[in-house]
Amino acid sequence: MIKPVPPAFIFILGAMLLPLLGLRGRFRQPYLIFIPLVAFIDLLYLEPGTSWVYRFLGYDLVFARVDSLSLVMGYVFVIIAFLATLYSLHVKEDGQHLAAFLYVGSSLGVVFAGDYFSLFAFWEIMAVTSVFLIWYRRERESLEAGFRYVLMHIFGGCSLLTGIIIHIVSHGFTPVGPLEGGWASIFILMGFGLNTAFIPLHTWLPDSYPQGTVTGSVFLSVYTTKTGVYALARCFSGADAVAYMGGIMAVYGIVYALLQNDTRKLLSYHIISQVGYMIAGIGVGTALGINGGIAHLVNNILYKSLLFMCMGSVIYVTGKRKLTELGGLARLMPVTCIACVIASLSISGGPGFNGFVSKGMVISSAAGANKPILELMLILASVGTFLSFTKLCHFTFFAKNETIRAKDPPLNMQMAMILTAFSCVLIGVYPRVLFHVLPSSPVHYHPYTVSHVVGVVQLFLVAGLVFMVAKAVLSPHEGIVLDFDYFYRMMCRGIVWLCTTPLNGLRLRIQGFFSREVSAAARASKNPISVPERAIKYLHLRTLQMLRPVARGPEERVRELEQMRWRLTEIRNIAYDENAYRGPMGLGILLAVIFLFLYGLIYLAAS
């Protein structure tokens, strides 16, 4: 009898063993594929209702609690982990695989977490491990984007922790579930909202995902935002504010996607738009809405990772990432081109592809819940998605470019793209595969009605006609488009100026004052008997100076004063150098971690 374990631990253990085993060449690749397969088999043995509880500091931490929602998330997370690992098999750096496995493991940890503390712990591990998939690109822009990513996620994590603490203080240690109003809900919603890229907390996403490694961005496109959607489904389903935020995200993401030149930035804005559909369904809160939101999440994971695989392949082969530099790749990279067209039709919701099924569910749920504005917003976003992917495919694969040289990527990358494309078509043609695992089953929705199919075809045809006529307006341009991050960057620059100029000046003044006083005290302590005499002399000197500014005191005292002034000026002139403070700060943090670890050991030994 096989006894299952929380699937998160399989990936985390797999990641830990990777550098320890030191596998190379033909032994490493089977090991990398083996881990997601083991996790999948483990999932098959998980029964709804199972849970793993660990008592810690008087709290029952539920590391894993299995139900229909966590299971569907677990399945899709593990399947895409397999496909993304297959796509990245050629990567030789163990660090990238390690970061990816820890990231997948912690995401599974969030999905199966039964209490808020466990959820928060995995949430933070997810944020920390995912940033390495950006930094491993080893370029200046990636390093900077990674730091901005971390900063935003620290803000989100702090907000989430604040909400969790308020919730536990006011409601006790409850399982992860629907939240009532109040400050706890607001903070928790902000924490979840940052990961799901609520407008205007979304800026980290289009800023960092295009800067990831070719393979890292495939992982990134899947887990962070989708765990956020999952958390919203658990805690905020049926909230009108969430539903309308979904509508805003769907339209906002599309408008900005249409303005992009960088292929992966375009895809990143589409993540915002597609996540908008998911949370619109969840916000509607009906059985069809929640099922639609989760179905769209599953489908989106498939076609969005496929799109990142395709664009990653283009970057891997050509080294070019801008639409203005691409074109003519259809004949040179046929497999990538076909996969990209399938993914584009899937994300646009074309009949026969998986997006058609779930997008229809979400839009129908908005109509069913009598939300006309939401329905119109989602339809508008559908039009934009089609326009945007017509643009992406046209300028990457079909536009004229005689100078470009390329061929399809390595076999493992091609295999991953083919399998993912097959999944998109399979669900599109046979949606019962998906309906079978949705949380509220049985699903009463029939996607292939005549009016739905004809309606979508008409929408595509007319939008395509507009694209043909207005191609010049939608053609890509060099440059960037400012988003809300402009305000954040300005605000951060303001904070840096405040710290380095006025506050640092104040610090130097205080430092100078105390240095002077301490040195005076040290001088006085050498000969304490002379203190009254020196004090009288000093007071006399000061009085003279005050009464007669031009009067000169004893020569020795004047020199002393000059020296003090010079030292003070010298201190003031020291430029602020952040590197000077990294060492002591790092040491402080290291000591804190060591003490925390020792404390934990003592606690464990004692209990």
């Binding site: 408008v255 339809i379 008409q458 929408l459 045809l461 939008a463 507009v466």
Partner: protein
Amino acid sequence: MARHLRLLFLLVVVSSIPAGFFMEHEHAVFPWHTIPSMDAIFGGLGALLLILGVKIIGSFASREEDFYD
């Protein structure tokens, strides 16, 4: 060749419009669900609206590539 393809596409678009007059929305909730070929209208109007939005945002938010450097 490209010109012929464009004409063919235009023909397909135009011929698809009447299809909407021969069917009904299964779950009509809002008034626009009852208008024939409303999805075609959504496609055209939506695309124009988005192009307008893109032009407006692009006009004041576009910057050089090295703007933040």
